[in-house]
């Protein structure tokens, strides 16, 4: 993806410099001078076809390269050896009904739902988190995007491209982080008053840390639910 960006940037810069230098050169060279008559240039058909051909070549190159890169970007890679493996995946994905023949490099599927003005991430075992997405390193993560209210757009620079989370539409993207660390991102579709605050963060950790975090998160959710039930019971009683 980045290679194509640099290729297009170089093509663009060459065209930009050529057009503007030619403009400046022509204006400097042909400023009105006493006694000089304009010289009419004759453009023959081969020159016209040649000029169009140069632009057509740029277009053809950009289109073919663009299709190849898009195809590559859409093709989901397998998880790497340091990533979450099927066995540990099964442990981690408590409620996921994985087939017995699941490949060891099965991707991790996470639901990312936008709502005004926060991202909610739901993991295969039903655990969820807000704002921060925690994923294991070297593991292919498929994000299934959804929205509960208005149109949102998920993007974390360095991990993936931008993709819409639209109510009633299914959309997805994927990424695989090769190194541990934190990647910050945001929503990129205008969504109302606090749109600027609709940010997100992806924390990439090693597999044991990921599983420990999942357990801790599940326990925290369970404790919170118990507390709410008790509070409701007390209120109701």
């Amino acid at each position: 993806m980045n290679t194509l960006y640099w290729v297009m940037l170089v093509i663009g810069l060459v065209l930009l410099v050529a057009i503007n230098l030619a403009l400046i050169a022509m204006v400097m060279r042909f400023r009105s001078a006493r006694g000089r008559e304009p010289r009419r240039l004759v453009v023959r058909r081969p020159a016209q076809v040649g000029t169009a051909g140069v632009f057509a070549l740029i277009v053809a190159f950009a289109f073919v390269f663009g299709v190849i890169e898009t195809h590559n970007a859409k093709k989901v890679e397998a998880s790497g050896p340091d990533g979450l493996q099927a066995t540990s995946s099964l442990l981690a994905q408590r409620s996921l009904d994985l087939p017995a023949t699941a490949p060891s490099s099965a991707p991790l599927k996470i639901k990312a739902c936008g709502q005004q003005w926060i991202w909610r991430y739901e993991y295969p075992d039903g655990t969820y988190s807000y704002y921060e997405l925690v994923v294991p390193v070297d593991t292919t993560v498929i994000l299934n995007l959804c929205s509960t209210d208005v149109v949102h757009r998920w993007w974390v620079p360095g991990l993936s491209g931008k993709f819409d989370a639209t109510p009633g539409e299914s959309n997805s993207t994927w990424f695989k982080a090769d190194e541990t660390g934190t990647f910050d991102g945001a929503s990129y579709a205008f969504s109302g008053a606090s749109y600027a605050a609709m940010r997100t963060s992806v924390r990439v950790v090693d597999v044991p840390t990921y599983q420990a975090w999942l357990d801790q998160q599940a326990a925290g959710i369970q404790a919170a639910q118990t507390f709410v039930q008790q509070a409701n019971g007390e209120t109701g009683g």
Binding site: M1, L4, Y5, I11, G12, L13, L15, N20, L23, M26, V27, F30, R31, S32, A33, E37, P38, R39, R40, L41, V43, Q48, T51, A52, V54, F55, I58, A62, F63, G66, V67, E69, T70, A73, K74, D149, V150, V151, R153, W155, P157, S160, K162, D164, T166, P167, G168, E169, N171, D184, G185, A186, Y188, A189, F190, S191, G192, Y195, A196, R199
Partner: protein, 570 residues
């Protein structure tokens, strides 16, 4: 003559003055269906809305000058954003184009009026009323659903107040007016051309007017449909875009992007037409290749309109459609590239007079090159995934807005101002104005492009202190410089608007053909009478004024030697 003989005037125009108006001039102008009055009010209103749009833009830039600024409340910011975007696109950029077309096209094709003069008045007042309505909403509650009011955000469940309704009415009335005027212009160009003025001989500006009109007929109709559906959904129980009820928000996205893509083309086409008139006149030689130029102008409409999904690369759309949109958008590079080559070839070998219209035209060419190449880079899907919806895409669109409707529109205004008023604008104010606009555009949009590369979102009411990947340290500097640049740009624009005002009041008197133009409008007096021409000449080429001058010169050289030396008359 010493012998009392009266020779025919050397000037080829044959015109008479119109009837003396019985009512005040302003009242006559407001009520007039004359295309020249309608065109002038269109242009005046568009420039007024440009000033209002610039004020909202400056307020937005002030809020974004420093990180986490609290100068403007988030809701107020969103209202400025919603109204300001509609102002710059729908109330300025489109009407300045159609105002210029309305004034110039009948003169360029040798027509005495538009095909439907009253329709032109209706379109003008729909626009003016729509614009007034949008700004009147500041008296109660303006729209706050963003620049294109996408549902579901614009549905009543998320925004209960009537701001969106006003936005729908204002944009709807204006677009309806523009669509009606597009039909008017398309019919005028098709049916009212002077004898001999075949399509292949049309001036580039008029030809771009035909293409722009058809573009607006298609694109504007799509927006009108979207607005009607949105209003029905908000208040009359319609279900079009509500996913929960069986609709789909993406339908509105398609319709609104067809419209905004059409708007983008109408940013470009009039500027291309005007620049293609100005460069030959001020270089003293014709366009390098007229066939290539006209073919390219014609090709822009179908390719551009079919590329609307280029704005929806992140949406849930089958990849085949996105490849199609990418291809159409990329193919635009061929006609647009050919036009740039044509322009450079036109001034090459010429004798360039750096008068105000030429300075603005050259500034427009340069600024457009930045914007269009910025767009070309983002056309490819994977690059679009990186740059779309960041300030990098705003920068590219901003360059096109400044290069097209602002610099291109002002180039056209400086060029045709003597025809409209009989006076010229000051060259002394024009050149600093062009320089400030170009400098301001670069100061604004280069930092915004770089901020976009850092990941800064569009339309946010504040950006955050440098702390992580999307808020790099450099964002602070980029945003501050962009704000300073916006003020420089605004100063340049205001200078030209002041220049126009001073020109109307007391500009130097211009002749009927001050620039040595080659097209029919210069055959009429400046300003032209209500019926434009007493006599419409037969057109024999795409340069009818050159033909007339040649004919006059031939007549004079073939005339017998001056009579007083040989035999006295009478």
């Amino acid at each position: 003559m010493s012998n009392g003989r009266t020779l025919a005037p050397h000037r080829p125009e044959l015109v008479t003055e119109g009837p003396t108006p019985s009512r005040p001039r302003w009242f006559e102008m407001v009520m007039s269906p004359d295309h020249k009055d309608v065109g002038r009010i269109y242009i005046g209103a568009a420039l007024s809305f440009l000033v209002l749009g610039i004020i909202t833009f400056l307020l937005i830039r002030l809020q974004l000058a420093v990180p986490e600024n609290d100068l403007i409340e988030p809701v107020t910011f969103n209202r400025l954003l919603s109204v300001g975007s509609a102002t710059l696109i729908v109330l300025f950029a489109l009407p300045i184009a159609f105002g210029l077309y309305t004034y110039v096209i009948p003169l360029q094709i040798g027509a005495r009026s538009l095909a439907f003069p009253r329709l032109a008045s209706l379109s003008l007042w729909l626009y003016v009323f729509g614009g007034a309505l949008l700004f009147a909403s500041f008296a109660y509650t303006p729209a706050e659903a963003g620049f294109n009011s996408w549902p579901p955000l614009s549905d009543t469940i998320f925004i209960e107040n009537n701001g969106v309704d006003v936005w729908i009415a204002a944009v709807g009335l204006t677009v309806l007016g523009l669509v009606l005027q597009s039909i008017n212009l398309a019919v005028t160009i098709s049916k009212l051309r002077a004898p001999g003025l075949a399509w292949r001989r049309l001036p580039a500006f008029t030809f771009s007017g035909a293409v722009s009109s058809w573009t607006m007929i298609f694109a504007g109709s799509a927006m009108l449909a979207a607005l009607v559906m949105l209003e029905m959904e908000r208040h009359f129980g319609g279900v079009f875009f509500d996913a929960g009820e069986g609709g789909a928000p993406i339908y509105y996205q398609h319709l609104s992007w067809i419209f905004f893509t059409g708007c983008y083309l109408v940013f470009l086409l009039p500027a291309i037409g005007a620049i293609s008139e100005i460069l030959p006149v001020f270089s003293g030689k014709p366009v390098l290749s007229r066939n290539a130029l006209m073919t390219s102008i014609a090709a822009i409409m179908p390719l551009g309109l079919l590329a609307w999904m280029q704005n929806m690369m992140s949406a849930s759309i089958p990849i085949g459609w996105l490849y199609g949109a990418m291809l159409m958008a990329l193919l635009l590079a061929i006609p647009i590239g050919a036009i740039f080559v044509n322009w450079i070839g036109t001034i090459a070998g010429g004798v360039i007079r750096m008068r105000a219209p030429m300075v603005f035209a050259l500034a427009a060419v340069s600024t457009l090159s930045f914007g269009l190449i910025g767009e070309l880079i983002q056309t490819v899907i994977p690059v679009n995934w990186l740059l779309a919806d960041t300030t990098a895409s705003t920068a590219a669109s901003g360059y096109v807005l400044v290069g097209g409707p602002v610099l291109g529109g002002l180039a056209a205004l400086y060029y045709w101002f003597p025809k409209m008023t009989g006076r010229t604008m000051s060259e002394g104010l024009a050149k600093p104005s062009a320089a400030l606009i170009v400098l301001g555009a670069q100061l604004t949009f280069i930092p915004l492009f770089l901020a976009g590369l850092e990941g800064q979102q569009v339309d946010i009411f504040k950006f955050f202190e440098a702390s992580d990947a999307i808020n790099a340290e450099s964002l602070n500097a980029f945003n501050l410089i962009a704000t300073i640049g916006a003020f420089v740009l605004a100063l340049g624009v205001v200078l030209s608007i002041v220049n126009a005002y001073l020109g109307i009041k007391g500009g130097t008197r211009a002749g009927h053909d001050p620039w040595g133009g080659e097209t029919l409008e210069w055959f009429a007096t400046s300003p032209p009478p209500p019926h434009n021409f007493d006599v419409v000449p037969d057109v024999r080429s795409h340069e009818p004024l050159r033909d007339i001058r040649e004919a006059v010169r031939r007549r004079e050289t073939s005339r017998p030697a001056p009579a007083e030396t040989k035999e006295p008359v009478a």
